[in-house]
Symmetry: C2
């Protein structure tokens, strides 16, 4: 008798899941690192990982105040230590006290902090803590809301509109849940902007074979780095209202805005500024996390979602559903409390906090600019401005012969390109095909996270590689 | 136009999910706490929560060494502080170093620590770190394995055998995944032991309407507190082999064994001691977490699973699936490294670590005994020995008239009982119906976690309540 569980007898939806960010390129990169350690000769000394948005792994320093409070919460005897500033101690005492009284999984004061943060961010528009659900990173919240929305079979199956290129969590979650993925394409020629006509086109095409119910937006964009204009957000909300779609706004890069003339506008704020016709009807879930922005604390898996205009009975179902999985990690919850309630003017840690936050964001802005500029000096690479988030998603021209060779090897051409880049230079990127792209175009996603000097070296090596590659296959 | 997402148009599987541990009783308990704060007069001063297995929430102290290392990892500047012992600093340095080099989500040294821990626990039986998957608490691992195993439609739908009474994570996960729940009843008369004939009966009945593929065991038992004998585990393994079932062993209470003559035997160890006929064929996933035992660190959401004899292609699918959700919380991973690699003899923290661990486990053993003894003095309550885990699950006799009154109110009788108990005494328990029980029998689950004096008071109040209740409805 064979095994109970084989690829032939396993959940077919799981098999359909794809996740390029940790795909074969990364596996090979890990292998190469091992080989380097074992003394295998390579044309480079180290693997440079520009594949995932983990800022600290690339050397970004955590915010001191956050880590002080977390240490105090972990080991409260440090509350007697005069090395720690009073405001850090006060935050720790407050969190510890709230934990002691908690029986419902999430720490109540965190939801209050989150709700005040949102109100402040959105110029005073009210935020009810009962609309806040703490999550294990944003991914957890996104999957949970998609799960609620997934129903039907065949032509009544829930369809979910996602941007292409997309962050592959979305396609993976939809595959796992058995929902229908509806692709709308961002406009690369217009700096990856979102086009309402394209939304309309993809919606109408999808209605032939499923029931579209959800529209997902990532702003600032991953992997494409664009920042949506206020006008665009208004148009999207109008579209969702007209077409009766549930809106999901992935806003985890809300502090990561670099380009002049760009600003972050939350979907919540724009929705409420559009007046009651929209603010009292359009259903919206927005997501944030501790993993990006100036914090970069991926490892703590902190996050929240705010739900607007959600049916109260559905909210009760949501509360039940998240209870089964018990609480999100408490250190992540504590961190979210600090992110949403950081040191204030007059508090002892304020100056250092602002200095660290500003330095981190300025450094990212500088690297965003540098990435765009250097990439655009390479013939055959065209890079849109990195307006926000942590990634560039440049288009690459691949010679016909490279495309043929890739196909002969059974590889997608940009996978072929990225694998060769890794083998020859140690640079680890993710092929554009992992995020989706227009048929016949090729891209890669590169984070802007390596330290400035390393990023510069990397971009120089990439330039040389691309020129050689083009020559070799022309 | 109505809302996009309503209870009528939401995922029907989610609606079927039930989770009694955080149900109406707990919601009412939270409300009562608020009322007490607001000065509402009650016949009691505080709500005593004996509903969830959160040891720290009930006053159990965390292990000093664990918290020291976590503080050092959170705020590495403390590495210069001579208040911290050297072994704590060494552990922190090792974890921090491993984090720096990590690109694959989980910290590699944690899986190595886990694997050495398992080898030591199981008397030297080899454990391959590649069979270890770190998880966000045990729940996460359990749901993930169930997800892999869920396939089919109608009569080919995957059936999963779970004990009744069960921990409601299982029924909730099966409802959400749309798998078929197959109930096998534990034998209350024989101290909640597992009976192979009953497994056979439930399996055969289930084969009429689904495809049974999985057998889940919780040992030590939740909510029933029994500890399985080595013989019983052998029989279960033989049964799984004969009936071609994938075994899932929930072993999160592996250190919580109190009764004389009882010992924890891991399914892995027994499997390998049964020889290659079994050890090379039976597919097994076992689960552990940082939340129970002497650690009680629920908030960190640390856990691991070990998979044995899993098809390599399925393992690749599993690795992909967990990658999409990114890594388990890093503080939880670090904690798992400490639990599986605690201070050793000769290290400065060893004596304190052993003293704290022993004191916690002894205290639990004492409370387990006390709970059983006091409950069994109450006419109409019959409590099996609490051999392990953290719960008693006593059977209660309810007067006919109480059962009638409950039904008239649309309440399950033991819910009616527990709600009344809460209102009159402030004691918060979970009705047996939330875990499943034989038709016509009634129980409640009560944790043994309140501090000894509070537990004693609680048991006394419970006794008085039960006597009054019986009188009132007779």
């Amino acid at each position: 008798m064979g095994k109970v569980l084989t690829v032939d007898t396993m959940n077919a939806n799981v098999k359909k899941v794809e996740y390029a960010v940790r795909g074969p390129i990364v596996q090979r990169a890990v292998q190469i690192e091992k080989e380097l350690k074992e003394g295998v000769k390579k044309p480079f000394n180290e693997v440079i990982k520009a594949n995932i948005g983990d800022a600290h792994a690339m050397g970004q320093q955590p915010i001191t105040f956050f880590r002080q409070v977390l240490a105090l919460c972990s080991y409260p005897e440090l509350l007697d230590d005069n090395k720690f500033p009073e405001d850090a101690k006060n935050r720790a005492r407050r969190i510890l006290k709230a934990c002691g009284g908690s029986s419902i999984g999430t720490i109540d004061c965190v939801r209050q902090d989150v709700s005040r943060y949102i109100e402040h961010r959105d110029g005073g528009i009210a935020c009810d803590p009962d609309n806040i659900y703490l999550t294990t990173g944003a991914s957890d919240g996104i999957v949970t809301i998609l799960k609620l929305l997934t129903t039907g079979e065949g032509r009544t199956r829930t369809g979910v509109m996602i941007s292409i290129p997309q962050y592959p969590l979305y396609s993976a979650a939809l595959a796992e849940l058995g929902a229908v993925q509806i692709n709308y394409y961002l406009n690369e020629e217009k700096c990856w902007s979102l086009d309402i006509d394209e939304l309309q086109r993809s919606l109408e095409a999808a209605r032939e074979h499923c029931r579209p119910r959800v529209l997902c937006i990532i702003n600032p964009g991953n992997p494409t780095g664009q920042v949506q204009s206020r006008q665009c957000i208004e148009d999207v909300i109008r579209f969702a209202a007209k077409e009766h779609l549930f809106l999901m706004a992935d806003e985890v890069y809300q502090d990561n805005v670099y380009a002049e003339g760009c600003a972050f506008h939350s979907f919540k704020k724009v929705l409420f500024e559009m007046g009651p016709k929209f603010s009292s009807t359009v259903e919206l879930a927005s997501f944030h996390s501790t993993s990006k922005c100036y914090m970069g604390e991926c490892g703590f898996r902190g996050g929240y979602m705010e739900v607007i205009n959600m049916d109260p009975e559905v909210k009760a179902q949501l509360t039940k559903l998240v209870s089964v999985r018990l609480c999100p990690p408490v250190p992540g919850q504590a961190l979210m409390a600090l992110v949403t309630n950081p040191p204030q003017p007059g508090e002892p840690s304020y100056a250092q906090f602002i200095a660290e936050k500003t330095a981190t964001l300025n450094n990212l802005a500088q690297k965003a600019k540098m990435t765009e500029e250097i990439l655009n000096t390479v013939p055959g690479i065209r890079c849109n401005p990195v307006q926000g988030a942590m990634y560039s998603f440049p288009r690459i021209t691949l010679p016909e012969r490279a495309i043929k060779d890739a196909k002969a090897k059974g590889q997608v051409p940009d996978m072929f390109y990225c694998m060769k880049l890794l083998e020859e230079t140690g640079i680890c990127l993710v092929p554009g095909s992992g995020f989706g792209q227009k048929e016949g175009t090729f891209h890669f996603r590169m984070t802007i996270l390596p330290p400035t000097d390393k990023l510069q070296t990397m971009l120089r090596k990439l330039k040389e590689f691309h020129q050689q590659f083009t020559q070799q296959y022309s």
